[in-house]
Amino acid sequence: MSAFSAVKILHAHPSLAVRSSAAESSSNKPKPSFPSSPSSPFNSTNPSSSSSSLSSSPLRGNRRRPILAVSSDVVSKKQQQRPPLVATPAVTREESLELYEDMILGRTFEDMCAQMYYRGKMFGFVHLYNGQEAVSTGFIKLLSRADSVVSTYRDHVHALSKGVPARAVMAELFGKATGCCRGQGGSMHMFSAEHNLLGGFAFIGEGIPVATGAAFTSKYRYEVLKESNPNGLDVTLAFFGDGTCNNGQFFECLNMAQLWKLPIVFVVENNLWAIGMSHLRSTSDPEIWKKGPAFGMPGVHVDGMDVLKVREVAKEAIERARRGEGPTLVECETYRFRGHSLADPDELRKPDEKAHYATRDPITALKKYILEHNLASESELKTIEKKIDDEIEEAVEFADSSPHPPRSQLLENVFADPKGFGIGPDGKYRCEDPKFTQGTAQV
């Protein structure tokens, strides 16, 4: 599949053809969005600051690659034409504050989860999202309520970004009846029909076909049921990690999504590690974005630590899907600051790698951007942080004071149709037994 098919989908830019040399020298020009980050430990020859996959691919040196579509690079190209210090910011003030608040919410929530876990209030498997907030915020804040999100076990922040209240998520993690799934799902199984959050799946790769099915429904509603939607098709986002990209279901869905032109965006949160398995050790070709063009869809690589770049790419991919042009594969290079889960001692990752990514913290970077472009003052940002702190404290109190699920809840909701639950010894349907919801059925 020619790489140019990927290029033509996004805006064709006249200087795109000379990017291979321009990108190298782009580090000499002042960066329009974020300050340059120091060179990645993986890429010794190119300072890997721009989001172009040519220069910031963490895995190769100067190897020549075909040109492919990276809209964020187009953005930086546009902005390089302006004088550096008065560069027009890529977002409005309101948008930037919304993004900041969402990322702070995600970070504070996850930090509180860690505290609660070590105090014994939370249990089982808890997988935290610290460091990856830019991906969740960058993508999900562009969605409307009717769009769907499907995630993995690392789903707390996806739920929060999609609009599930923090108190509902916290109560769910504590296993209380007021949780978003009444305590029946847990950390790895966040569902919210109201917010179109379709889970929370423990098996990697399991959410991808489900997301493809949700996208299928969107298209089916439009074409067969003839439901009209002035905004275009409802889009589904599937979030998953680098380890999932070796799984068979991933490829099956790339094929079918492109075959049927489904309105879905496959978002790879490549944090380079699958528990203790490094992405480079487990994958024959570690550049995941390449797997998109192999199936006929555009594959895009973006710096996942930079929320504005992620947002630009997300905008383009989501708009494509809405217009009915089909799926996109977006690889976000990101990093998780904590271990795989709270039970992971995280011994295999090198301290200097962690230190490098800590300097690229997306929240610090956005804060710097906002202050440099005078979108808000320091005190306004502090107010937001305080507000979020209070919200999280309130969520913990709410969860603490919520009741545990009643005994009768054990047998409820196995089926949507309670009659299917079975026939009791008296020949009547069990659900008609007056004591059914009090849990006197044999447990």
């Binding site: 769907s148 499907v150 799934c181 009444r182 305590g183 029946q184 799902g185 199984h189 569902f191 919210s192 029909a193 109201e194 379709l198 889970g199 929370g200 799946f201 423990a202 098996f203 399991e206 991808i208 076909p209 489900v210 997301a211 493809t212 099915g213 949700a214 996208a215 299928f216 429904t217 969107s218 089916y220 074409e223 067969v224 049921l225 068979g248 279901q249 099956e252 869905c253 094929n255 079918m256 075959l259 409820e412 909701n413 196995v414 089926f415 949507a416 149709d417 009659k419 299917g420 639950f421 079975g422 026939i423 009791g424 010894p425 008296d426 020949g427 349907y429």
Partner: protein
């Protein structure tokens, strides 16, 4: 006309590119010629029954759609979905690539959003590639989401042994799927069962595993006018007593019901009146009917085609022991397939699957024995 149609179907399926198509050649002779009853009751093949049920449900509700391998242009690997592509178009009858895990997951995701997919597996053996989705993302979701997201999906296809298809194409999955809370598992026998249960399954808001049988597809059964009505539905979770009896209860599902009925005929000539129960629904199991019958006859023989250990018969036996122990006059007899992967050679295959004689022998054992291992004259 029906006979011509059947012969045409047989000819179309001869190019044996698809697994299992070779089985079309093995047809019970009786099904080629329509049996006309003097009372004029209409006869329907199980295949037609399933096809008509799919057709009617698809036309009644535009949210119902079909997906599977060869369901469209090939008219269905076993011709169950014949004519549906022409009628409803490629948007509602989807030919999928050979990606069970992928397309089953897609069906589940579509069901999350309120569509009503019918996912066809060419045989349920292939469902093992997709079993993660059937169990983890379909069966458990209503529970995990505390009722927010229900999954109104039907997984259907042929189950169990066919003829000479070898070990990887012959397993019976009734016990596997019936083990899981959150699934409903149905297994029809006659055309009436097929129609009623499939319609009920499609209308049901929960995931249903619908286990058909390939060798039954070509068999005809008499159907009443009520069955042909477009709103005909059978209740899920209720068994049917196919034949009333006094001395021994025989439970069976799918093809084994036919065998059990033949065994009952043979037994009746020897003075043993057998009551044959067609389970219809494996999960939820109709324990009430089974126990009521055992309390009447005091003896039980369970018949199934699958492997014996942890099978459907084991569950039925336990249910009877729990609820009707004092009524049992003899140990429960369990007939099942042999505890080996299905062999290929025709004579070995015959030994690995229950036959009518096995059921007759077991029923006799249950009738003549009131203490274990004591032989009476």
């Amino acid at each position: 006309m029906l006979g011509v149609a059947r012969r045409k179907i047989a000819c179309e399926s001869i190019p044996a590119a698809i697994l299992g198509q070779a089985l079309q050649r093995i047809r019970p002779l009786g099904s080629i010629l329509p049996r006309n009853y003097s009372n004029g009751a209409k006869e329907m093949m199980v295949r037609e029954a399933l096809n008509s049920a799919l057709d009617e449900e698809m036309s009644a509700d535009p949210k119902v759609f079909l997906m599977g391998e060869e369901v469209g242009e090939y008219q269905g690997a076993y011709k169950i979905t014949k004519g549906l592509l022409e009628k409803y178009g490629p948007d509602r009858v989807l030919d999928t690539p050979i990606t069970e895990a992928g397309f089953t997951g897609i069906g589940v995701g579509a069901a999350y959003h309120g569509l009503r997919p019918i996912v066809e597996f060419m045989t349920f053996n292939f469902s093992m590639q997709a079993i993660d989705h059937i169990i983890n993302s379909a069966a458990k979701t209503n529970y995990m989401s505390a009722g927010q997201i229900s999954v109104p999906i039907v997984f259907r296809g042929p189950n169990g042994a066919a003829a000479g298809v070898g070990a990887q194409h012959s397993q019976c999955y009734a016990a596997w799927y019936a083990h899981v809370p959150g699934l409903k598992v149905l297994s029809p026998y006659s055309a009436e069962d097929a129609r009623g249960l499939l319609k009920a399954a499609i209308r049901d808001p929960d995931p249903v595993v619908f286990l058909e049988n390939e060798l039954l597809y070509g068999e005809s059964f008499p159907v009443s006018a009520e069955v042909l009505d477009s709103s005909f539905c059978l209740p899920i979770g209720k068994a049917k007593i196919e034949r009333e009896g006094k001395h021994v209860t025989i439970t069976a599902f799918s093809k084994m019901v036919g065998y059990a009925l033949k065994a009952a005929e043979i037994l009746s000539k020897e003075g043993i009146s057998a009551e044959v129960i067609n389970l219809r629904s494996i999960r939820p199991l109709d324990r009430a009917t089974i126990n009521a019958s055992v309390r009447k006859t005091n003896r039980l023989v369970t018949v199934e085609e699958g492997f014996p250990q942890h099978g459907v018969g084991a569950e039925i036996c336990m249910s009877v022991v729990e609820e009707s122990f004092e009524y049992l006059d003899a140990p429960v007899e369990r007939i099942s397939g042999a505890d080996v992967p299905m062999p290929y050679a025709a004579n070995l295959e015959r030994l690995a699957v229950p036959q009518v004689e096995d059921i007759v022998r077991a029923a006799k054992r249950a009738c003549y024995r009131s203490v274990p291992m004591a032989a009476t004259a």
